[in-house]
Amino acid sequence: MNYFFIDTTNEILSLAIANDNHILASNSYYAVGEHSRYAMIGIEEIFNKTKLNPQDIDKLIVVNGPGSWTGIRIGVTIGKVYAWALNKEIISVSSLHAYALSFSNYDYYIVAINARRNHVYAGIYDKNYNNVLDDCYININELNKKIDQLDGSIIIIGNIKINEKYKTVPVKLDIKAVINYYKNKSSNNYEQLKPKYLKKTEAEEKL
């Protein structure tokens, strides 16, 4: 089985092609606001490197947010169109879950991404990487209250300091770990694959 992975939800654009045991090729770019320009070039490069054709991929693994709204849509558009065009299986992955999966040996993984105005996009996962707190848009103080109730070893992963007691470990992405976790999960229909914004637009909130 061959897997194609794409994450365009944050400032680092990550792409990979893997088979069951190995990452065959991967690319990552630090390109804020330039994902639209680099995503397809990067994809072409990893296919050239592996000598695989887009048809050779069995499953598309697409990170669908939360994160930059524009960024999310780049990866989700590529995934949806790819799945439609070549009739491929596709599965969406929460960015927060992907970051949690990139760490190990804790009882709880708290992932918090800055969403401004004292809010974060956050999720809490247990040692088996199941959601204890569903991915949500949440006030930092409220999140801290939930963290205080946890009992066991914890790690806070993210791009913003939210707690005096614990330091925040910067986000990293272990693509192999993410693919291993998701490769046997049942896939979505490409029409069901939707961006995970976790927040309404301002215009809608003001209505």
Binding site: M40, E44, K51, T70, T77, K80, A85, P195, A203
Partner: protein, 475 residues
Amino acid sequence: MIRYYREKDISEIELIGKLIKPQYTFFINNYTKYLVYELHDHIVGFISYSIIQEQGEIIDIAVKKEYQNQMIGTQLLEVVIRNMKTSGCNNITLEVKINNYQGISFYEKFGFIQVATRKKYYPDGKDALLMIKNIGDKMNNIYILAIETSCDETSISIVKNGNEDMGTIILSQIDIHKQFGGVVPEIASRNHIESITFILNELFNQTHLKMKDITAIAVTYGPGLIGSLLIGVQTAKTLSFLYQKPLIPIHHIIGHIYANRLVSEFKFPLLALVVSGGHNDLILMKKEYCFKKIGGTLDDAVGEAYDKVARVLDLGYPGGPIIDQLAKEGNPTYNLPLPLDDDSYNFSFSGLKSAVINLIHNERQRGSEINKKDLACTFQTQVVNILVKKTMRAVKELKVKQLLLAGGVAANQGLRQALKDNCDKEGIILIIPPIKYCTDNATMIGAAGYYAYRKKIITDLSLNAYATIPYDNDN
């Protein structure tokens, strides 16, 4: 003789392969095939190629030094082209190193044309040239798959030879944005991505065409709402990559001009008046796909002024069609200034718009009722008068043969009628697209895409979207 390779040929193939690539290794998978040219029990040349989903690709072709210029490569390529034809391929692609002039001219003799460059394609960092040859039954016809998502319409179309609409789907989000009194960019982007694959699916079902029938993909890359444009651009790039189809970037305003091509031939020089919610340009075309902006708006586009006036009058959104309708029922009784009336070809509508808004406030403060029909009529009369005046002056001064009207405001009945009357008087041909091609649609992008393709205006996968971008290419 030419035959398929056998196991025993591999070492000889690799030796010949090293002539073209020092690290050449024999490589085969489910799609690749090798043909060899055997002479006196030895392999003197080979060709490798693949056929994936009725898409042919030449991978490598090599002939031993001492056997070159003996038509061996030609014969190998001819056999493969024939094979691909019988396999139902519509086109053949190949990559060739950008400085391999001998190779490029060899392929050009077979009718391959250059369509794109692949940056740093080779291990030595050299670019590759992507070449394509059409071989299918539909080889004489050019089918453009066109995508337009610059504002709040998601539209995809297939256009044949620049003037035949094979099928177009437009999903308008107007009802969604109505409640906000205008287009909300983030909401527009969110809706585009929801419907993009649904529309692709519907379109191919309706037209009974397949991706293999498509010659090239055209997409609006600006100007417009950046988040919205990105959905279309990303869709087009993904399809271009997956199917190895040329990618054509189209400027939204050029699309509007070419909406006219769906109903008429062009006679040059011509003048186009593009009027919409975002644009207000006078464009001179001396020949096909050459554009020179001779005038534009200094502030609001005319459609924008309509929307703002409609909002102050509580008429709803979008304001253009409502004001146009009311104007028909009213009289120009109010006193409003004529917008910028100088000897340039530029427009300015913000003064007129402010005058209307002030007038409404004053009347309201005085407690007097506003006659919306009469005010709409006065406003529209002033707008139409200046548009017609400057446009007709340009028509005469530049001695154009045709006048094209384009853009969403081209649907305005008052403007259409006034331009028609003036053009009839002057003996100028006026072309106006049907209403369905006036507002944003992908059909016009497909029409423009055809002429861009013929001019080899083709880009690579680094294409980005731009909120503002010029279109002039004739200075």
